[in-house]
């Protein structure tokens, strides 16, 4: 149930994001989700891609600072109360969320989150019958 997300350190200068996307595009790596966390001087680009291991290798060859980060993905009906419910399950167990982002596909929402204790988070969500996505499922969306 652990998903490998690609995290890339980016300086805030024009053209860097383009370079990442072009590098992945040339090798036919598909991007399911993308989010950027930024400060005034640098940012972290987070990507869910079809082949994270290969993507990491390609970006490393281009001298990017890149890492694979373990995240979770849940899929819920497209209503905010389901998102809220999932988050409450975690907060009740004092599992903290470093960051989260989401996107919707038709009637469903796909939520990506990074928890400080992923194993416990998976168990807690499953106990509450919240649907988790496998990597293979997510990469195909």
């Amino acid at each position: 149930m652990i998903i490998h997300q690609l995290s890339v350190f980016l300086e805030n200068k024009s053209g860097r994001l383009t370079e990442v996307l072009e590098t992945l595009g040339q090798e036919n790596i598909k991007i399911t989700a993308l989010s950027v966390a930024d400060t005034s001087e640098f940012g972290i680009l987070r990507l869910i891609v079809s082949d994270p291991v290969k993507a990491k290798k390609l970006l490393k060859e281009k001298s990017f600072t890149v890492n694979l980060t373990e995240v979770l993905s849940i899929i819920t009906p497209n209503e905010s109360r389901y998102y809220a419910k999932a988050l409450k399950v975690l907060s009740d167990l004092e599992i903290s969320i470093e960051y989260t982002y989401a996107f919707s596909v038709g009637e469903k929402s796909v939520i990506i989150l990074r928890a400080n204790n992923p194993e416990l988070a998976i168990k807690a969500l499953q106990d509450q019958e919240i649907e988790l996505l496998r990597a293979s499922e997510l990469y195909k969306i």
Binding site: S7, F9, T39, I44, S63
Partner: protein
């Protein structure tokens, strides 16, 4: 035009040479018998004090470098017992440890004397108000000017650095006539005066004595135009005494070296051979009267040349050109010495980063700003913003505590720093001199 010590400053050069020879003999004897380090170095060369009779014998003696001071940290090169040391100053060294200098009571008197000459040659008298905006403390600038100012009987205003608003108020209300600070701070003050709306006619400034960092003729012109004063270049380094080693007169024809105390040579920094008069090379000083920390052939790393003709002002003391650069990689940031190796050693102590870095020095609003660009290490990169921000803060704090300089930290992607011929380019100095 006044000359503080006409007897010395206008002395016949042959007579001066005899005096220098005699003082060198005394100094060599002192270091040979009181500083084990020098005795050993002389013995290695098969020298004893009898081999040094005149100033011409100086070339036989070994050089001293900043590293030698560091290796003998803190007091190893002092030639008198600590009970006779009345003052300590320190400046930053090459690898974190400061360079420590000690003064006897007579050294302080010498320092006051050479500073009195400096201020007098800039036209200051006991009628002046000397506004000292050099830092007071371990840095020699503030106290050096202070003692010289008192010696000539001027009214000394020990305002020290910082707090520009108060500087301007005192300058106005007390009627400061002589400004002493770094040239970049002088320009900063000039702009602050403009912005404050103070009328130039409300200020009594007439001359400035500026040093502790390199500056160009263009900067001089800008200071003279903006502040409407005469800008006088002064030179010194703490190892030799502090400010007061050399200074310009109002004719601005080079800096008169107080060579009755500090004997200058110019060497080729590669071959270490003494160069003929008039040639450009590295300036080397031998202190010939100092008691606390006498130094033999101390390599300043400053590049300049010497002029032996008598000056229009009447002084016969040798003159040096404004320093033209350095023979090492030392940077001077707001008057503070900075070696790239110091930055490197701070970074090496931090496991989170690799010492791939670049220093960018710029002058913004007339003040030096340093930016350290450091590459984020892949092993440490964990995709958390907070962690990167904390790392940046930690680098900044570590640098500030060991260098005494506030440096802006920018995290950059690996392998993005400029390399030239395969070697990393560590310093980009964008300041124009």
């Amino acid at each position: 035009m006044e000359i503080w010590n006409r007897h010395i400053e206008c002395m016949d050069r042959d007579e001066l040479r005899r005096m220098q020879s005699e003082r060198l003999r005394e100094t060599v004897e002192r270091v040979y018998f009181h500083v084990p380090y020098y005795r050993q170095k002389m013995q290695e060369k098969g020298l004893s004090p009898e081999n040094i009779q005149t100033i011409d014998d100086l070339v036989k003696l070994p050089f001293t470098t900043k590293n030698d001071l560091r290796d003998n940290y803190p007091f190893g090169l002092f030639a008198i017992p600590m009970s006779e040391i009345v003052r300590l100053h320190a400046s930053s060294g090459t690898t974190g440890k400061p360079t420590v200098v000690g003064y006897s009571r007579r050294d302080i008197a010498t320092w006051s004397e050479v500073m009195a000459r400096t201020l007098t040659s800039a036209g200051a008298t006991n009628d002046d108000f000397i506004h000292i905006a050099y830092g007071y403390g371990l840095f020699t600038g503030g106290l050096g000017l202070h003692y010289g100012g008192e010696k000539i009987g001027a009214s000394v205003i020990p305002v020290s650095g910082g707090n520009t608003k108060r500087q301007l108020q005192l300058m106005h209300d007390f009627g400061s006539t002589v400004l002493a600070c770094t040239p970049s701070y002088a320009l900063f003050l000039a702009e602050a005066i403009e912005e404050s709306g103070l009328k130039r006619e409300g200020l009594r400034l007439k001359v400035g004595v500026f040093g502790a960092e390199p500056w160009t003729e263009n900067m001089r012109k800008e200071i003279e135009d903006k502040l409407q004063i005469k800008a006088i270049d002064i030179y010194g380094l703490s190892e030799i005494i502090g400010p007061g080693v050399a200074s310009e007169c109002l004719f601005q024809q080079g800096l008169h070296i107080n060579e009755d105390h500090f004997y200058p040579e110019i060497i080729d920094p590669q071959t270490l051979e003494v160069l003929p008069p008039g040639e450009t090379g590295e300036l080397v000083f031998t202190t010939i009267t100092k008691e606390g920390l006498p130094l033999i052939r101390y390599r300043t790393r400053d590049l300049t040349r010497l002029h032996y003709e008598k000056c229009i002002c009447g002084r016969t003391l040798v003159r040096m050109d404004k320093c033209l650069g350095r023979s090492d990689d030392m940077l001077i940031i707001r008057g503070v010495n900075l070696f790239p190796s110091q930055v490197e050693s701070v970074l090496l102590e931090m496991s989170e980063i690799k010492p791939h870095y670049q220093l960018i020095i710029d002058r913004i609003n007339n003040l030096d700003e340093v930016e350290l660009r450091v590459e984020v290490d892949e092993e440490f990169f964990q995709d958390k913003i907070g962690q990167l921000m904390a790392l940046r803060q930690k680098i900044q704090q570590n640098l500030e505590s060991s260098l005494g300089l506030s440096i802006k930290i920018t995290l950059v992607e690996p392998k993005t720093l400029e390399r030239s011929e395969g070697k990393a380019k560590r310093v980009i100095d964008r300041r124009t001199y």
